[in-house]
């Protein structure tokens, strides 16, 4: 279980443009479930996702991952937790331009020092899972929107993460691709992966796949209902 206790996040503290994105949020996310953070822009969904995913530290409060307190870990250990536990899918995919789909998928694992041939094979297998084997050597700029999305998912899976975090994953996708994305998430869930999504797309939070919807507004959790 991931537990957030009384989390606050203040940006630009002490400056004229100080901004509080989260106000004392407490939340439990069950493993092996799909949880959606729902809310309008500026409600704090992305900030909460990045704190849960060890990308940033809360200003106050603590986060526990399987009862291990992770907020006070030094950067090196936090990176290790992020790398070994979480896979991220960003709103704009954030793929690295100028290199191939395969290199993008392999990039997160470069610092681990895994043998190149093994890493390459693993990355190819992951791309083939998404029917992208033939596009492995294609540069990111040459891929269609759907292909780029699947490369981004493949990259998130390269470390076999226990938890997938996706921020507004369907914002730039049409309905067909959005359904395709949710199908892939369904497959991952079936394999036991925990999925945490931030979205205000009804196609996401209304999906059968979702176990729990947490509604946020103005940096606070206003409702946390269980899916039917």
């Amino acid at each position: 279980m991931i537990s957030a206790r009384n989390i606050s996040k203040v940006f630009n503290a002490g400056r004229p443009n100080e901004f509080t994105a989260l106000h004392g949020v407490s939340l439990d996310v069950q493993l092996h479930e799909t949880t959606v953070l729902k809310g309008p822009s500026g409600s704090g969904k992305t900030t909460l996702l990045s704190l849960i995913g060890c990308m940033a530290r809360p200003t106050t409060g603590r986060i526990f991952l399987n009862e291990r307190e992770i907020t006070s870990l030094p950067e090196r250990f936090l990176t290790e937790v992020r790398r070994s536990t979480f896979g991220f899918i960003f709103q704009q995919f954030n793929l690295i331009k100028g290199i191939s789909a395969l290199e993008n998928v392999m990039a997160p694992a470069y610092p681990t020092g895994e043998k190149f041939s093994l890493l390459r094979r693993r990355a190819m297998e992951t791309l083939e899972m998404f029917d992208l084997g033939k596009r492995a050597d294609a540069r990111i700029e040459w891929l269609s929107g759907g292909e780029a999305q699947r490369v981004a998912i493949a990259r998130a899976l390269i470390h076999n993460p226990a938890i997938i975090i996706a921020d507004e994953p369907t914002t730039h996708l049409d309905t067909r691709l959005s359904h395709e994305f949710m199908d892939i998430m369904g497959d991952l869930k079936a394999r036991g992966t925990t999925i945490i999504l931030a979205s205000h797309d009804p196609l996401v939070y209304g999906s059968d796949l979702v176990d729990r919807v947490v509604e946020m507004r103005d940096g606070q959790v206003v409702d946390g209902e269980s899916a039917l």
Binding site: A56, E75, N94, G98, E103, Y110, P111, H159
Partner: protein, 377 residues
């Protein structure tokens, strides 16, 4: 250990791919960097080669030279003086020398003509320097003519062409027999150009010079240290000019490195954010930037140094020649002897590669320590 090597390899591979992705920007960067190293290295090689040539000249210079002057102007010296000078304690030998200059108006060149102390050419034949050989297209066995003091041409057969260690000394040199030289220059039998002395103890130079001055008040003894000062002034002047250029280029390099150091493009910052978000540590980013700086600076250093070597030693510093060899119209072209002081190359390395690598790491470190969640927004 294997993992550590693999990690370095992966990150280096990724760095190379990253450099190739920004071909235009990195190509321009590499060009400017190479140009600066090229100028700095050319200056270092050139000044050092000149100093090296000067040292070679001095090695062969006599310990004391005695000239004769009249009202402060140079005159030929009576050969008979050598007998009295040889009597001075400490003097090992006195050798009357015959040498002088010849301006060749057809080729706009100045030659040094000399009667060698040993193994002079037979009358009617000469040895010439490689500069004259190149300029006049004359080779061994060819016949070459020069106008003598009376305007009448004298023909000589080329016996030999020098391929000496120092072209600065021999490039313009013509060696000929005493008989030919006297006929050519018009110097009478009892006169010579100057006297070259060998002295046993260097500490006696000044005393012997003083004794000669007393013996012949119109003589002018020149000791080797004075010659050294002359050469220092000659080469030092050029070296001084070079140092001014060196300082200007070094300043340009500092500005260039500083500009690079303070600027990290938005695209690069975003890429660092992505890499951190997907699991790279700050140290991984730093390693990547270290390799990036090293690859660019080492490539620029090697390219710049090799180009500078070719420029100085194969083209005789063609780009600098108009500035520093203004007298070249009076001198056959000479090629500097390839000579590299590895201490200076190491200095150049530490002045260019190290500061650049360090300056590229600092902004990357600042970017690498930013929370990776910046890419989420």
């Amino acid at each position: 250990m294997t993992r550590m090597i693999e990690r370095q390899r992966h990150i280096m591979d990724f760095t190379l791919a990253a450099l190739l992705r920004r071909k235009g920007k990195n190509g321009a960067l590499l060009s400017v960097y190479t140009l600066l190293v090229f100028i700095l290295a050319s200056i270092l090689f050139f000044t050092h080669a000149l100093k090296h040539e000067a040292a070679l000249v001095l090695n062969e210079a006599p310990e004391i030279i005695v000239q004769r002057t009249m009202t402060g102007r140079y005159q030929t010296i009576p050969v008979a003086w050598s007998d009295r000078i040889r009597q001075i304690n400490g003097v090992i030998s006195v050798h009357p020398r015959l040498w002088g200059y010849k301006y060749d108006k057809d080729f706009l060149a100045n030659y040094t003509m000399m009667v060698p102390a040993g193994n002079p050419p037979e009358p009617g034949s000469i040895d010439i320097g490689s500069g004259i050989s190149r300029m006049r297209g004359a080779n061994r066995g060819d016949i070459i003519a020069f106008a003598g003091h009376d305007g009448q041409p004298r023909s000589f057969t080329i016996r030999n062409i020098f391929d000496s260690e120092s072209q600065l000394v021999t490039s313009d040199l013509i060696l000929l027999s005493e008989k030919d030289y006297r006929d050519f220059s018009g110097i009478p039998e009892d006169q010579s150009t100057d006297l070259a002395l060998q002295v046993r103890n260097p500490r006696e130079y000044a005393t012997i010079a003083e004794k000669i001055s007393r013996m012949y008040p119109d003589s002018r003894p020149i000791v080797r240290t004075e010659i050294q000062r002359t050469y220092d002034a000659l080469f030092g002047w050029r070296s001084g000019l070079m140092i001014v250029i060196f300082a200007a280029v070094a300043l340009a390099f500092v500005i260039f490195a500083w500009d690079k150091a303070t600027g990290l493009s938005a695209e690069e910052q975003k890429e660092i954010g992505i890499l951190k978000a997907v699991g790279w540590e700050t140290s991984d980013i730093m390693l990547m930037k270290f390799w990036e700086g090293s690859i660019i600076s080492l490539t620029a250093f090697l390219l710049g140094t090799i180009l500078a070597y070719a420029h100085v030693f194969f083209t005789s510093a063609a780009l600098f020649a108009p500035v520093i060899k203004g007298w070249s119209t009076l001198y056959p072209t000479f090629r500097l002897t390839p000579f590299i002081d590895f201490g200076q190359v190491a200095t150049l390395f530490f002045l260019t590669v190290v500061p650049y690598t360090v300056t590229t790491i600092i902004p990357s470190w600042r970017a690498a320590t930013i929370d990776p969640d910046t890419v989420m927004r």
